[in-house]
Structures are given as structure tokens and as C-alpha cells.
Amino acid sequence: MKKESIRLEAVNGVFRISLTVNGVKKNFAVKNNEFLLNALRRYGYKGAKKGCDTGDCGSCTVIFNGKPALACLIPAFTAHGAEITTIEGVGTVRNPHPLQEAFVEAGAVQCGFCIPGMILSSKHLLDVNPSPSEDDIKKYLDGNLCRCTGYVKQIQAVKMAAKKIKKA
């Protein structure tokens, strides 16, 4: 990321920001009191989920300038110039990412509400640590709450994905 000093001004409480979402340049108009999760969802990135709005459940996890972050805690205007990856940028039904395939194959998706956040956290883990141990996975996913699965198959899924990615 290039660091530039940027001066943004809100007009009638609205900031006009430019950012890159899933590799595509976008312009968002965001309210001065709006958080990134809300802005992303308004602009159609519905894969980021609102589970608590207080930074506790991890359903809104996105990759923000290379690191997993909770979109519900990031003031939207501070995303000016940021690079963001949402679940829509990881893979699609037609062309899924190995992590998405692994979550399906491991039976790790029940209601699915926490899964986008869980996959984004896992993706960052595998980006920085391609061969994580079970403990590594548990440490990395501890901010992504799931009430359906007991995490058992999700941890298996991340292990499977790591193998898939190495093979590919």
C-alpha cells in the first residue's frame, strides 16, 4: 500500500471514497457514521454477514489491506484507498476456491451464516502458513463463532484445503 496523506471531506454527512474491492476499483458514498460492513452490503457484497455488529462473532470478516478484519468495526470512510477482499472475491459457485470446495466436501457448512467469515480467516491463514497444525487453525479461527458445527468439520476442512492448495 502506498501511503498518501488523504484529506476527505464529508458533504452533508456523506464521504465519497475510492477503494478496491475484489480487485475492482469502486467508488462508494458512505455516511460519516457508517461502518464498512453496512457499506459493503449496501453495494451488493452480501457475503459479509451481520451477526452481532459489535466485533464479537466474526461473520463480517473481510481481508482489509492484506489482513483479516471485522468490517462491522471499521468506519467506512477509513476504507478510502483500501484493498478489500470479500467472500465474493475468493471464489464463485462456477469457480470455487479450494477452501470453499473443502468446506463443502468436509460437510463443514450447516446454516452457512458464519462460513464466509470463517473462509476468509482461513484463507489468510493458508496465505501466511500453508501447512498449519490443528492448533494453528484453532488459534486463527477463534474469532469466528459458529453455533451449528462444533467446529469439528471446519477444522478438517481447513486441513483438507491446505493439502489441496499444496497439490495444485
Binding site: G47, I87, Y151, V152, K153
Partner: protein
């Protein structure tokens, strides 16, 4: 102890069927990927909130700050003036129809004690008023400008206080219906006794303890949400995160005095429910706002509102008094349960009934049985359906007491259970006596794999060797082992009904339309597997749609562990009808007798090897000859509710310096009959177990002395994450339930009932102290250890 009884021979009666059917399974009991999972993993916009609707208003609700108060004045003029505000509702401008929010069979067994809005509030978090505005900010601003004056009434938070003469009467309204004793705040009451002689006469020992559980919340990660709008015909469309779309339609029609035909309820994908969405919580008020404004309205709970104003598990006090003999015979059992239903009686009766009907029959009681149940109103949040549904509370008592009784007579707790649990072919007077709103149904056990489950679990956790190793533990860290057994039901017999429709397409694929409500469980997938098994095709040949009251046939919804058993049988029957229709067409194509034809590998095959593809059958029926749509519907209701069985095992390490319990290993063996989809069945159990471990060690919703919830957030109400979880191993124990579709029983709820008693027993094994109230926090454990040390 003479080696105990012979093992339960779960399969013997049905061996022939199993051998034939099991070898023949092509789709059922096989690995099939959950069909909606890839879309979900890719973040497809499939949840209630993932659609954009033009001109939508934002609904917000004003919640009561008082536990018990009468609204003496409510002025909405200022609120209505806020720019963008389109409607403000109070009790003055909505219909007043007493109803229940519980989504249950009609007429519901729960009292009609709830109004869309009332002039009285009964807990902190009760509805006062509702607003719809063009922006969430305007709605919030309007809420703050509603001027409300209250007459604060004395409040009651304890169930035993609430039952006393002179206690504050929470439901003093005249038009409430079916409250058995409003003056004593009793929302439901049931007594039942089997008497075969004098009480405790044959008992060598009598033991009595009380077991308590607190307020617990489901914590589905998707908070409750609804969007109401209108279709081009002016009908109300309710898009909602619900487990019970057909009950939502009926209850909204009732509460708003609308004809059912004017309402359509759509259930998109649901972000978890666990019972909290078996309830009409937002649909009625959103619909009222839409009707008032003529516009689409969205209302979603915040996480805090989910804790305070949705539903919870019933806090409970179970007093269990048992008599037993030195030889291990249980002679008498008296179970007295008092449930806190909170301010309204949603599920007040039925949870109470299940606390007894799912537990008492589990062990043979030779002489006398008594059950007394009371569900009591208090000025606290409303309890409702929660995975386990009373059995959780009941089994905490029973399975703790089984260990206490075994210790008293010096018997191994595993052998004591093996000696006493219900066997194949056996029944219980409780099944008939204790129904859910009407009389129960007599039944006998038609499949049970508990013996195999216990043996598997003992081996998997290495019980005997570890018991030996832990003996005479010293030092700060002590290890212990505990186990618990349990059963649940599979649907409500002669109450629950499900139906399905299957329609054939040109390429030999099928649409399967079900009212059954997949809320993340994978029921769409397993229902397709059942249909595919009948029709000799792959599960992927089904396009499954659930649920939409305009398009799918009726189903009571996803609750009572009913979907696999009840909806699964409906789908099986439907597929069998379709099979007949396919064979009728194929008989003409192939010029063979119908009875010589079968469906196999996507084809209709004759005994002599002649065959035709399903697409040929479909095209013939649609375009060429005697044209008709191959389509069928069928319904199912059951005369029995075959229980799944489970044996759970926990190994714990207790830090005697801090009181912290660490679960080192957890093994859960489940007999769910034929697992239609083994991977999904395991997943159901894993999740249920971790949820149960959460309420064993950390979860409890706490309140201030004036009834205000203190920890209504994930930060303060601790549910387990990946770092907290112990190793959990689920083992499926195959049996064949003759009344189930391809031998299947239920699986979704039973797993939550094990951890609390299993860990209670393991704690006792480790440090010799027993806790009777959950959760087992370090503070409680440490206090108990210190108290025991002083003696």
C-alpha cells in the same frame, strides 16, 4: 453384580429387513454433499437480509425498560413528526387478539396470553411501540420521542415466589385464554401418577436432590429478521428467518385478523435456529407496519435484542426423588419440575411435558412413578423452544442421580445404567399419559443401539484403563471420567404432519417441494436422498425447494426432531407414488407388465433386461402419448415417536487450585437408526455436543435485581470458539427403525443433553464434589471443593 443383563439386541427383530435394505442402499446412508453448501460457502445472497427491495422502510421496536408496568400514557405525536417516519404503532392502533407466539400444531397447547402490543409490559425487553421510517436513523430518533408514562408494578423473578398467594399477577388481563391459574402465575400444569403399591416400600435407599439450570440463549449466528412486502395482488408477503413458515402464516393471520389466503410466507436460507425461530417474534409487528404504510418493512434484531427479546431455554428446578434396591432395581421415581417460562407462556406446557416424557420412560421403574410439572410466569425474558426441549433439564437430573444411586449401592454406574434402560419391545405408561397438549400415544421401543453405543464409547475414551490410572489422584490437577445416557423423540406422534410434492421434468430430473424447513440442518439434502433412493436416481437429480406457503405443501416445520422421521416418510411416500406413475408410462413404452418393472440407475428396467431412460418416460408423458404431468403429493403423520438413543463420555481435568474444569476428551455415540447422510448426522451431533458443553461450563444469562439482563452480548455471554473446544468424537451406531424412512430416526437434538450430566459425573469422579446447578464455573467448582475439604 452377576454380569448384568444380556445386551439389548437392537437388530434381531428386523435382521432380514436390514440385510436386504442395507445392501441395497444406493443413495441413503451414503456420502452426499449438502446441496446448498457451495452457494453458502461462496457467500451467495440467500438469506432473508440479502435482497434489496425498493422503497423499504426500517422498523424498530421500543422495548420496555421496566420488568412489570402499566402504560398509563403514551404519546406518539412528536415521533410521528420526525422526517421520514411513516408509522408509529402502539396498543391503541393495532388489533388486540390474544394469541401465542409459539409455532405449534393448532390449536396450540400454549396459553393465548400475548398481544401484538399491550398496555402492560411484563419484562425488560417487552414490546412497547413500533416505528417504521425511511432510514434506520429516523426510526431510532422517533423511538426516543415516544413519550411513555408507566405505573410501575411490583415484579417477581423467582418461580417459587411467583406461585405464592399474593404474588404480583403477571397476566391479569381478562381476555387471555388457557392460563390454568393466572392468580398464581401458573402457565401450565400437569400431574401424573402410576401407583403400584405403597411409595418407597420396596426401596432400600431413597435419594432426593434438586437440579437447576439457568437462562440460556440459542445464539444462532443470524439474528432474527423479517421483511414484509406486498405482491402485485396486494397480498402480504413475509420473507422471514423461521423454522415454521406455515405456523407463521396462521398466527399472523390470527393476530392481524387477516384471511390466510392474503398471506404468503417465504423461508429463504436460515442462519441457524435451534428452536428460537420456532416462534412468531417479528413477523406480526412488521406485517402491521406494512399494512399501516402500504410499504415493505424490514425489522431485524440486534444481537442484544436477540438475547433479551427473543426466546431462551426455560430455567428449571427439577426435584428428583428415587427409591432403589441394593441389587440395582429402581423401585420408585418422583419428578417435580418447575420451569420459568418468563413473561409469556410460549411452549410452557410442551417443554414441561418433554422434560418428563423423554426421561422417565428411559429407565425401568418397578413400582411407582409420579410427575408434577409447573411452568411459571415471572417478569423475565420469555422461554421457548430450545434444542433438547425439556429433556436437557430432565436428563441433567436423571443422569446425575443415576451416578449417585450407583455409588450408594457400590455398583459401577455403567452397569447400573445397562441394567435399567428400556429394552427393545418395551413400553412405558408415560408415553401414553404424557403427550404435548393432548394425550400421548402408547408405543414400544422398536429400535435401540444403546448397548453398542455404550460399549463403543467405553472403548473410544479408554474408560477402564483411564479409570485405573486416575485412581487415588493427588496434586493440583485431578482427572475424572463421567458418562450419561439419554433418549429423545422423533416428532410428536399423531400431532406433527408433513407433506411433499414431486414433479418430473423432461430430462428425468425432479422438483421436490417440501414444507419441511431446512434451517441449516441439511434436511433438503437428506430428503432428496430419500426420494432418490426410491426412484433409483441420484440425489443431484432433485431440485429441492423449501419452503414457501404458496408453493410447497404443508409441513408443521422444523422442530421436535421431526424432519427426518416425519417429513422423510412423507417424501418417501410421495416418491413411491411417482414411481408408480413412471412405471405405468414405462410399461406402455416397453410393452411389459408393470409388476415386471423396477427403477434403477436412472432407468426403468424390466426383468428380462429391456429398459428405457427416465427422460424417455418424461417426454412420453409430457409430449407423445396420453399426455400428463408425472406429479404426486403425499402426507405423513406418525403413530409413534421412536427415540434415538445416545451414550456420552467425558474425561475432565479439574484444577483444584482454581476450580477450572478442562474437558480433555468427549465421546458421543448416537443411535439415530439409519443415518440418511452420515456426515451431516455427525455434524448435527458435533454441534449439539459443543452447544451442551457451552451451557455446562460457561453459558448463563444473568440479571440485575430489577430484571435487567446484564450480559446480553457475545462478549459477556460466552459461547465456545475453536480455542475453547475440546476434542469431540461422534460415533453413529447403526440400527434400523422399522417406522422410519429407510430405518431412520431423529438426530438433531439428542446430543445437547449429554455434556451437563456427563461432566457433572466426571467432576465428581475427579474431585469428589457434585454440582447441582449449572454452569460449572471455576467459582462454583472451587467453592464446592473448599466446602468438601472442610467437612
Amino acid at each position: 453384580m452377576g454380569g448384568g443383563p444380556p445386551p439389548s439386541v437392537s437388530l434381531s427383530l428386523f435382521v432380514k429387513e436390514i440385510v436386504v435394505e442395507k445392501n441395497d442402499f444406493k443413495v441413503v446412508n451414503k456420502r452426499v454433499l449438502k446441496m446448498d453448501s457451495l452457494g453458502l460457502a461462496c457467500g451467495e445472497p440467500v438469506f432473508t437480509d440479502d435482497v434489496d427491495i425498493n422503497g423499504m422502510l426500517y422498523g424498530r421496536i421500543l422495548w420496555s425498560p421496566y420488568a412489570h408496568a402499566r402504560i398509563t400514557k403514551i404519546d406518539t405525536k412528536e415521533a410521528e413528526k420526525v422526517p421520514g417516519v411513516k408509522a408509529v404503532l402502539t396498543y391503541k392502533n393495532v388489533p388486540r387478539v390474544p394469541h401465542t407466539t409459539a409455532g405449534q400444531g393448532y390449536p396450540e397447547p400454549s396459553p393465548y396470553d400475548t398481544y401484538i402490543l399491550d398496555n402492560k409490559v411484563r419484562f425488560v425487553g417487552d414490546r412497547v411501540a413500533a416505528v417504521a421510517a425511511e432510514t434506520p436513523e429516523a426510526a431510532e430518533a422517533a423511538l426516543k420521542l415516544i413519550k411513555t408514562e408507566y405505573e410501575i408494578l411490583p415484579a417477581v423473578f423467582d418461580t417459587f415466589e411467583a406461585m405464592k398467594d399474593g404474588a404480583p399477577v403477571i397476566h391479569d388481563e381478562k381476555d387471555a385464554k388457557n392460563i390454568p391459574d393466572a392468580r398464581h402465575n401458573i402457565a401450565a400444569k400437569f400431574e401424573f401418577e402410576v401407583k403400584n403399591g405403597e411409595w418407597f416400600k420396596d426401596a432400600d435407599f431413597v435419594i432426593e436432590h434438586s437440579y437447576k439450570m439457568p437462562y440460556l440463549q440459542h445464539c444462532a449466528i443470524e439474528p432474527h429478521i423479517v421483511i414484509t412486502c406486498f405482491d402485485p395482488f396486494g397480498r402480504l408477503v413475509i420473507r422471514t428467518s423461521t423454522q415454521v413458515p406455515f405456523h407463521v402464516r396462521r398466527i399472523v393471520a390470527q393476530a392481524l385478523k387477516l384471511p390466510v389466503k392474503k398471506i404468503r410466507v417465504i423461508k429463504p436460507r436460515i442462519g441457524g435456529g435451534f428452536g428460537s425461530k420456532q416462534e412468531v417474534l417479528l413477523e406480526d409487528i412488521a406485517a402491521a407496519l406494512s399494512l399501516k404504510t402500504g410499504k415493505p418493512v424490514k425489522i431485524e434484531y440486534t444481537r442484544k435484542e436477540t438475547f433479551i427479546s427473543s426466546r431462551t431455554r426455560h430455567p428449571s428446578t427439577v426435584r428428583l426423588k428415587t427409591g432403589f434396591k441394593k441389587d440395582g432395581t429402581i423401585t420408585d421415581a418422583e419428578m417435580d419440575i418447575v420451569l420459568n417460562t418468563g413473561a409469556y407462556g410460549s411452549h410452557a406446557l410442551t417443554v414441561m411435558m418433554c422434560s418428563g416424557s423423554h426421561t422417565i420412560p428411559f429407565y425401568k421403574v418397578k413400582n411407582n412413578i409420579k410427575f408434577l410439572g409447573r411452568s411459571v410466569y415471572t417478569n423475565l425474558p420469555v422461554a421457548g423452544a430450545y434444542r433438547g426441549y425439556g429433556a436437557t433439564q430432565g436428563f441433567f437430573a436423571w443422569e446425575s442421580q443415576m451416578d449417585i444411586m450407583a455409588a450408594k449401592i457400590g455398583m459401577d454406574p455403567v452397569e447400573f445404567r445397562k441394567m435399567n434402560y428400556i429394552r427393545l419391545g418395551e413400553g412405558s405408561p408415560v408415553f401414553k399419559a404424557m403427550g404435548e397438549g393432548r394425550e400421548g400415544v402408547e408405543q414400544v421401543i422398536t429400535s435401540i443401539g444403546l448397548y453398542e453405543g455404550i460399549e463403543k464409547g467405553l472403548k473410544a475414551i479408554n474408560w477402564r484403563a483411564k479409570k485405573e490410572k486416575n485412581k487415588g489422584g493427588k496434586g493440583v490437577l485431578r482427572r475424572g471420567l463421567g458418562m450419561a445416557c439419554m433418549m429423545q423423540g422423533s416428532g410428536i406422534p399423531e400431532v406433527d404432519m408433513a407433506s411433499a410434492t414431486i414433479k418430473m421434468n423432461e430430462d428425468g430430473s425432479f422438483n421436490l417441494m417440501v414444507g419441511a424447513t431446512d434451517l441449516g440442518t441439511g434436511s433438503d439434502t437428506i430428503l432428496a436422498q430419500i426420494a432418490a433412493e426410491v426412484l433409483g436416481v441420484k440425489a443431484e437429480d432433485f431440485i429441492v425447494y423449501s419452503s414457501d406457503t404458496d408453493l410447497t405443501p404443508f409441513d408443521v416445520g422444523a422442530y421436535a426432531s421431526s424432519t427426518t422421521f416425519i417429513s422423510g416418510n412423507a417424501v418417501k411416500k410421495t416418491a413411491e407414488k411417482v414411481r408408480e406413475m413412471i412405471i405405468a408410462v414405462a410399461a406402455k413404452i416397453l410393452d411389459r407388465k408393470k409388476e415386471d418393472l423396477r427403477l434403477e440407475g436412472g432407468k426403468v428396467v424390466a426383468n428380462d433386461g429391456a429398459a428405457c431412460g427416465l427422460s424417455e418416460v418424461a417426454n412420453t408423458s409430457l409430449y407423445y402419448y396420453d399426455q400428463h404431468q408425472i406429479i404426486a403429493s403425499a402426507s405423513h403423520y406418525a403413530h409413534t415417536s421412536p427415540p434415538p438413543f445416545a451414550a456420552n463420555f467425558a474425561e475432565v481435568e479439574v484444577d483444584t487450585g482454581t476450580g477450572k474444569i478442562k474437558i480433555l476428551d468427549y465421546v458421543s455415540c448416537v443411535d439415530c437408526g439409519t443415518a440418511i447422510n452420515p456426515e451431516l448426522a455427525e455434524g448435527q451431533n458435533d454441534g449439539a455436543v459443543l452447544n451442551g458443553i457451552g451451557h455446562t461450563l460457561s453459558e448463563e444469562l444473568e440479571f440485575s435485581s430489577n430484571g435487567t439482563p446484564l450480559n446480553a452480548s457475545f462478549r459477556r455471554y460466552k459461547i465456545f470458539n475453536t480455542l475453547d473446544m475440546p476434542p469431540i468424537k461422534t460415533f453413529l451406531i447403526p440400527t434400523f427403525e422399522p417406522n422410519g424412512p429407510f430405518g431412520a430416526k431423529s438426530v438433531s437434538e439428542i446430543g445437547i443433553n449429554g455434556p451437563l450430566p456427563a461432566v457433572a459425573n466426571a467432576l465428581y469422579d475427579a474431585v469428589g464434589v457434585r454440582l447441582f446447578d449449572s454452569p460449572f464455573t471455576p467459582e462454583k467448582v472451587l467453592a464446592a471443593i473448599k466446602k468438601a475439604g472442610k467437612k
